[in-house]
Symmetry: C2
Subunit: 231 residues, 2 copies
DNA sequence: AACATCATTATCCACTTGGATAGCGACAAT
DNA sequence: ATTGTCGCTATCCAAGTGGATAATGATGTT
């Protein structure tokens, strides 16, 4: 196959819509062909998330990612073009899944009391962090790495999330419901309090023998965050 | 050189005492020969810390580590025997340096009021985390990785640190000075509150444009931790 | 001055890495 | 039934990996 055609083809595959989480398998009934591709894409994304989160970008091998996904490593290049692009798609997938798992009551704070809403959000976010500890792990890897990838992620996903939370935090500070300290510090403390215990779960298991993913432990941790920050 | 002799030699080099931080270049005046070796060891350790912290264990390359340290990669094998052993030495180096930077008033809580001591500890620990953000980064990499390396680190360094802090935390909880929540949750929240903002400094820079290492920002963050946890 | 030590390197090795290319072969369209 | 599409793989490649070996040459010892 001539080079030009091959490149064009790869671009087309890449442009194809990535598997959407919530979408109810739209229309008619997708041709088996397309459905299979979507399954493969999803398998690769989940495998890549797991490997990237644990080993970092350079430490993860596309061959291992492919093996976990049940395909040959050529498939990754076929679909995503490069390891860099796969990394970006994984981060996109991560936030899409997060949004998809967010219940309406958390997405939309309207007409809810600030404290009630904050508690709902914390409860949901801790559950999410316990369900998907690799989210926090990947974001830590991303943030440590610096470079243009981080700029891109900040621009694309992280900044909007920060800005979305800041007004509510400041309102609650003003009303005396959260400690009256620097907003960025406070946001990071709350965020870390919610997810780091799950990111570092293997350490806690090794040191204290505790399984932080036990539902009762999760409930205790939710309470700990409430009591610590809320006033 | 026969194999047996080479192995014996490497073991001897490895067994030689690693550079101690506080030690005042003891006795007489070390022969230039030994001094140079110590310098090289230190350069490799610091370079390795930086690379491991950012890229993780598998992601860091011994050749790049050596280059940053100004030597050829054979030197690493000569001194440390293997990449695994280098990783372990780096972690040992990290905690040794941490202990060396700990002032007496933080090492020894005797005869100090709990609150006063806790504030001194937090202030020192935040300063340390800001001075050496790679400490937190490496420990996150270590904890995420699981496997026997984590067991070793937990046994060797982490557990004793946890156990050392727990009694004071429980006493302060009992006296109403810290939120009355699960001790492990509380310890992790305090720990994360102190160091994660520096571990994730590149993210904050990219998202909010803030330099968390600015001394005034550090002071604000210390205050934030005080106000949030202390009561 | 001659010798021995040893910090350091050059160089080789088998293996893995991300990427590129050229298919194959099950499906879909006619 | 024939043909073309395209999901997927086999296979090659240059570059990089951690490790092993033997040498070098400045330093220290006699």
């Amino acid at each position: 196959m001539p080079v030009a055609k091959a490149v064009k083809k790869a671009a087309a595959v890449r442009a194809a819509k990535r598997p959407r989480i919530g979408e109810p398998t739209a229309k008619k009934a997708a041709p088996a062909r397309a459905q299979k591709l979507q399954n493969t894409r999803l398998a690769i994304l989940e495998s890549a998330l797991s490997h990237f989160a644990r080993r970092g970008f350079q430490g993860a091998s596309t061959r291992e990612i492919a093996q976990t996904a049940g395909v040959r490593h050529g498939m990754i290049r076929h679909i995503y073009g490069s390891k860099d692009e796969l990394w970006r798609e994984v981060i996109g997938f991560l936030f899409e899944r997060m949004n998809a798992e967010m219940p309406a009551v958390v997405v939309n704070p309207e007409n809810q009391d600030d404290i009630v809403y904050w508690k709902k959000w914390v409860r949901w976010y801790i559950g999410y962090s316990a369900r998907h500890p690799d989210h926090g792990r990947l974001m830590v890897q991303q943030s440590i790495l610096q470079g243009p990838q981080l700029e891109w992620a900040a621009e694309q996903f992280i900044r909007s999330r920060h800005l979305w939370h800041f007004p509510a935090i400041e309102r609650m500070k003003a009303n005396g419901h959260l400690p009256d300290v620097d907003t960025v510090s406070l946001f990071f403390m709350i965020n870390a309090a919610c997810q780091m215990i799950y990111v570092l779960a293997p350490e806690i298991k090794a040191v204290d023998g505790r399984d932080v993913f036990d539902p009762r432990e999760i409930e205790k941790h939710i309470d700990a965050v409430f009591v610590t920050f809320l006033r």
